[in-house]
Amino acid sequence: MTLVKTTYNRRSFLKSSALAGGGMVLGFSWLASCKPTPEQVRNMPKEWFDINGFLKIGDNGLVTIMSPNPEIGQNVKTAMPMIIAEELDVDWNDVLVEQAPLNTDIFTRQLAGGSQSIRQGWQSLRMAGATAKNMLIAAAAEVWQVPADEITTSEGVLTHKGSDRSAGYGEMASAAASVKIPEEVALKDPKDFKIIGTDRKNVDGKDIVTGKPLFGLDLQEENMLTAMIVLPPSFGMKYESIENAEAVKAMSGIKDVFPIDVYPEGVQRQWSDGGGIPQLVAVVGESTWQCMQAKKELKVKWQADSKLESSAYHEEALNSLLNSPPAAPARKDGDVKRAFKNAAKEIERTYSAPFLAHNTMEPMNFFADITAEKAELKGPIQTPEFLEKTLASVLNMPVEKIDIMMTRMGGGFGRRLYGHFGVEAAVISQKMQAPIKLVYNREDDMTQGTYRPAYKVRYKAGLDENNKLIAWHVTGVGTNDDLVFENRFPAGAVDNYLAEKQRLESNVTTGAWRAPRSNFIAGAEQAFMDEVAELAGKDPIDFRLELFDRAIKDPVGDPEKNDYDPKRYAGVLKLVREKADFNAESNKSVARGVAAYYCHNSYVAQVLDLEMEDDMPRVKKVWCAVDCGIVVNPLSARNQIEGGIVDGIGHAMYSQMTFKDGKPEQQNFNRYQLIRHAQAPQEIETFFVDNGIDPTGLGEPSLPPISGALANAMYRATGQRNYHQPFATEKRILG
């Protein structure tokens, strides 16, 4: 029996099947809010603990697959179940997908970050599907009294040819439930994949276009109050006192106003608490609008407790750090100093980029209901496991009593790795002794901090009389962050190579922002590479390929140390050259830029064409070649690539966060510019390398190089190079 998932009532299905006791449960309880008993966990063989996957088969053949990782728009909620379904060998139309809650007993790495969900989940998800299939086969073998290896499966049906018998998975599910979990399972040969590698629509698509409550901000629970916070107006300031608490409490719908200690003395902060501010003010009321009004009326006194940093200060301090060499280099091959002395030509350029906010469309929020007995939390979080640890410390409660459910997220980009807002929600709920939903308004969201750091990098290159690259010196600085990846390209391709990095301590808090560090240095490096190729009088792609050739044939230094595979790198460049017809005569007059980069275990090369319209670039087309191994769902993979390109162009062109005496000068989208429809590329075409390698990162790798391709194309259009992001406000562009 085939049931289409979108017309099925999930809740009643779950209930009735739980009552009937049918179906096979792989090591967990089906009610999403429950954790499996130790008994259930023990039933899993020890060596399988790391490769758990969740699925349930109904007696009607319907399969529910749990998606373990948080969904931030990277579409793992479709892709991860696809991998399980593939090995289970079911019809994708018979699959229902549910978001799994945090469950560290069963799942490993329930985290959205570093483009690693698919890469790190690949084996365990396949095992989960294959294990279940195996158990169904064993059950059928037992019932039919035939050898298991004579039974075949296809799209949810078990068949024994010899005795002409067949049965749907549903019919065998109950018997399969008592089959011993196999010690070993065979995985499919990738060439037999029927689901992996095919376009599958987003499982939440219908809910998204009909406005169903999917997001944390949409949660409405019984007796729930709304809470908002008041943040210090500037970095470097801390809470002193509330001046008009009584007046604000008297406002319509307002329940309470009070300071909160988010991280009291002695609490163990996790890395994921990031720039969470220890002391804030909370406003609690009946509705969001009432809280917003109260927030406006509230007068809070803050006092400076460290330097109130302005953008001019960051600029100066980063510059002076850039000019003072660090004690030790990050990597050194050959003798750069001597090589520059002997060089026939040399070139030096400095690039910079501002702080950026993540600006997820859905602002930070979290639901918490904390009682003496237990803590129940729901909301958008990329790192639920770490949030649980902090909560255990803050609430002084064992993790067993803390339940966290992840909602679909209105964007992540790294921002929701830092779950301080979940802690804030818990502390407010505990104080109110009531369920609350904490809501950040856009201004809170944009000014809280946790920004992409501000960066500067200086490159210097030397060519010999044959225009061969003989020396490369990169030195980078960032606020609270290293910038330079010393073992990435062109390390290993240049005889004399020096990489240096230093960080500037700043009280403006920073965190991972989509493709950390790569998001800036890739574009800078690729723009510089373009100038070096020009100085050498060489075609920009040929120039890069020569370097990869060197790294393939005769790598400099220990090749194991080089953090890239020059063959795959060269592969994407050649692919994009061919697809964009890079050297065609007809394309010679086009303002065209190229860039390539490696990060998150994947390789990306891009060609970008643009025209200048009213002194601003309009991107006509981007060709993007990607080597990320096996592509699980090409439809959404292309979407990710397109999104990364738009994101990268947008931030390099328009966005920045600046500060005056510690105060963020952009607080909402009126002053913080994000790329919009009319600025987006008119066309993006993506090409995946088909190499059968296990999948690698996809959510981030298309972003980093695109700012380089953009800068290089802008140079072809205007004759001027851009060095300082955002390009739209760099003087030479605006004229």
């Binding site: 469309m361 209105g410 994101d647 066309e683």
Partner: protein, 153 residues
Amino acid sequence: MAKFDLKINGKTQSLDVDPTTPLLWVLRDHLNLVGTKYGCGIAQCGACTVHHGDTAVRSCQLTIAAVEKDITTIEGLSENGDHPVQKAWLDEDVYQCGYCQAGQIMNASAFLKSNPNPSDAEIETAMNGNICRCGTYTRIKKAIKNAAAAENA
């Protein structure tokens, strides 16, 4: 507090709220119609777009006291989620996180009503007030063109 009768998605709703409350928060907090999203509160992002009569408006800027016409939200755009624009969105698999898309769809559907056969440039201008942080702009444009073509076929 004041009493209001609003017609939302074909149903009359009686409410007793502060007259300065923006329609956005009436929908979300009082009527549990949370498909309409909050993104900025200052008319910059379009996440809160609904139809006021046939016009796309930003519900974060329209106070409940200023509502004069019937309101349609994403929940009421079609009975079964099969409005041509919704169908086009499903066909193109437009969304990433999905958060901005209700606003995009409401703006696009009102726009196509007034301009059933738009050029690319007209689409860009009409949609420029709707931010998509995930960068699904090329898909949105394609979906709007497909929806227009399907209607004109």
